[in-house]
């Protein structure tokens, strides 16, 4: 990755963060913290690695993405709108009656969403199924998954982990958004996740742990995972819940919170400064 590409990705992350905040602020409440913690992960995938086509979102040859933490839909919607899967003004319909952008990801409503998610723990199993379907049909599409660290509380996630390793699904690359916070507090005060990388390694996954807001580290991890031939890959991304949103960064109460117009304005001003510093 050269410096210009890195700058473009950083610039894009600011755009996506701004769209995500605007989307939620327009509604007045939403899952802000866990949406913005994954923006660098989504950006590295949707602007560098994922092979898909906004004009043909159901292309059977495409790479797929399963957002197991379905409540982070707003961040993914911002990316999909920016990529042209649907018009950007649709973002202001989030959670309104009859919308095609529900709080949790819905493959039957939103162009570009590859799996319906929202009941935590189910996404990785679906991703395993998609990876198996691609292998059986000899489809070239890779399957990317994103689970929350709260997802790792769910037993089903570990059932899926065992099966992906058992089936040798090297076409499956998953991320953990390791922001270390869940609704009720710091993750280690609620349900410990220590030695998380060791856990995935011991389950038979090729596991890497990187700074989830560092594009160069994320890029290197994805490239390395794509080289893996025998095992599924887990990239544990150390992230900050609420990253880049000045009024709530690092506060566990940001899981689902009201956002006022003033707060949004404050966040946009901070992002503008960040953007100016890039030039």
């Amino acid at each position: 990755m050269n410096s210009s590409e890195l700058r473009d990705l950083k610039q894009k992350a600011i755009v996506i963060r701004r769209l995500t905040i605007d989307e939620i602020a327009h509604l007045g409440i939403g899952h802000i913290g866990g949406s913005v913690s994954i923006i660098e992960i989504l950006t590295i995938l949707y602007y560098r690695h994922l092979r898909n086509n906004p004009t043909n979102p159901k292309d059977t040859m495409r790479d797929k993405f399963v957002m197991s933490k379905g409540h982070a839909g707003p961040a993914l919607y911002a990316v999909l709108a920016d990529r042209g899967f649907f018009p950007q003004d649709m973002l202001h319909t989030l959670n309104q009656g009859g919308t095609n952008l529900p709080s949790h990801c819905d493959m039957n409503r939103t162009p570009g969403i590859d799996m319906t998610t929202g009941s935590l723990g189910q996404g990785l199993s679906a991703a395993v199924g998609i990876a198996l379907g691609h292998r059986i049909q000899k489809l070239p599409g890779r399957v990317f998954g994103l689970i929350g660290d709260g997802d790792t509380n769910e037993g089903q996630t570990w059932e899926a982990a065992m099966s992906a390793a058992m089936f040798g699904l090297s076409n499956l690359i998953a991320f953990t958004d390791y922001n270390k916070m869940q609704i009720d507090g710091h993750i280690d005060d609620i349900m410990k996740t220590d030695h998380l990388a060791d856990r995935w390694t011991s389950f038979g996954w090729y596991t890497q742990q990187v700074d989830g807001h560092d594009f160069e580290a994320l890029d290197a991890a994805v490239l390395s995972a794509m080289e893996e031939k025998n095992r599924p890959s887990m990239i544990i991304a150390d992230t900050i819940k609420g990253k880049g949103v000045s009024f709530c960064e690092g506060d566990f109460k940001n899981h689902n919170m009201p956002i006022s117009a003033e707060q949004a304005k404050e966040a946009f001003a901070a992002l503008k400064k960040e953007e100016e510093a890039l030039v």
């Binding site: 199993s125 998609i130 198996l132 379907g133 049909q137 089903q156 059932e159 899926a160």
Partner: protein
């Protein structure tokens, strides 16, 4: 008894799981989209040999039913037609959220099969005895629920299940069952099968145990001068409303019979139709708000009243009510 179906000339019992396994192999030979999953019960459910022919489309996930259904949903998004199977108790209770959200809410095409329904779980006892699986499944919007009564109807209904777009729940008796039907009989998913015609009473039964018991009961009742229509309601959802209404009007009394709780199973489905369209006397034979127990199937049928004798006795009470007042209040 006035049969309106072709009966088999020399019926030989066949294991339903054997037929299920054969059918999957037949379907898979013709169609590369068919994929079979199980959770460490391939041998029990008749699909173990599938791997010899279709190694890539045979997926055993170990004892992890929730993951199995989630994987099936993922496979379905890629255009495959997955048939995951496990015992009914796990298929419904253990995987309900996965089947509800990843398969049904996501509008996928997952053909979930539950085996060993109700008292047929016998020696596996109360923990494995599902009297509630249809009840849970019936609350899922748009789902089809099918419980075939014999090897012939299973054979005819399975391809319809496979090629109907949408998720479904097949409630499958695993063990040997003597065919009720000749091979020439046809079945339509969503349409009840009228086996005998009679003017006094309709018995609507579902599944391999209760349809057979209903036919035995009908023969006994015939001897007592009660002329019975017997329906094999192999599809419990969507229920064949038209047929239920028609037979309620013709016979004025309905007895339902199921190897399941009477709450939210076949009896409830029929009662919903009758209450709204054609209120007549109804008695529901099935489990009366009880958990399962261990024992032989024969013992358990006696224990829970899933016998022809109980059907006869309840039918006679129903006939007495009807004789007293041929049309219930409000009918």
């Amino acid at each position: 008894m006035n049969y309106v179906i072709d009966r088999p000339t020399a019926p030989e019992a066949a294991e339903m799981r054997g037929v299920y396994g054969e059918l999957l192999s037949e379907l898979a030979t013709k169609d590369e989209r068919i994929v079979v999953l199980d959770a460490d019960l391939m041998r029990a459910n008749g699909t173990f040999d599938f791997k010899d022919q279709f190694k890539d489309r045979w997926i055993d996930v170990g004892v992890a039913e929730a993951n199995m259904v989630g994987i099936a949903a993922g496979l379905s998004t890629t255009g495959m037609i997955p048939f995951p199977a496990t015992f009914t108790c796990f298929a419904a209770r253990r995987t309900f959220d996965q089947f509800f959200i990843s398969a049904n809410y996501a509008k996928q095409n997952v053909k979930l099969t539950g085996t060993d329904p109700g008292v047929s779980a016998a020696f596996n006892g109360g923990t494995h005895m599902s009297f509630e699986d249809m009840g849970l499944m019936r609350t899922i919007p748009g789902i089809y629920i099918c419980e075939p009564s014999d090897p012939v109807s299973l054979r005819k209904l399975m391809p319809q299940i496979a090629y109907r777009q949408g998720s479904s729940y097949l409630r499958l008796h695993r063990k040997a069952i003597t065919p009720i039907y000749a091979d020439s009989e046809d079945f339509e998913l969503g349409k009840g099968k009228v086996i005998t015609e009679g003017k006094d009473l309709t018995i609507i039964a579902t599944g391999a145990i209760m349809v057979a018991e209903a036919l035995t009961a009908a023969a006994t009742l015939e001897g007592h001068g009660v002329n019975v229509t017997v329906v094999d309601m192999h599809t419990v959802k969507p229920i064949d409303e038209e047929l239920v209404i028609d037979l309620a009007r013709k016979t004025g009394a309905i007895l339902t019979a199921e190897n399941h709780q009477v709450r939210n199973g076949l009896g409830s489905a029929v009662a919903e139709v009758l209450t709204e369209h054609a209120p007549v006397y109804q008695t529901r034979i099935g489990i009366q708000d009880l958990f399962g127990e261990v024992g032989t199937q024969e013992y358990l049928q006696q224990r829970f009243g899933l016998t022809a004798d109980n059907l006869v006795s309840e039918a006679q009470k129903l006939m007495a009510k009807k004789a007293k007042n041929p049309r219930p209040v409000g009918a």
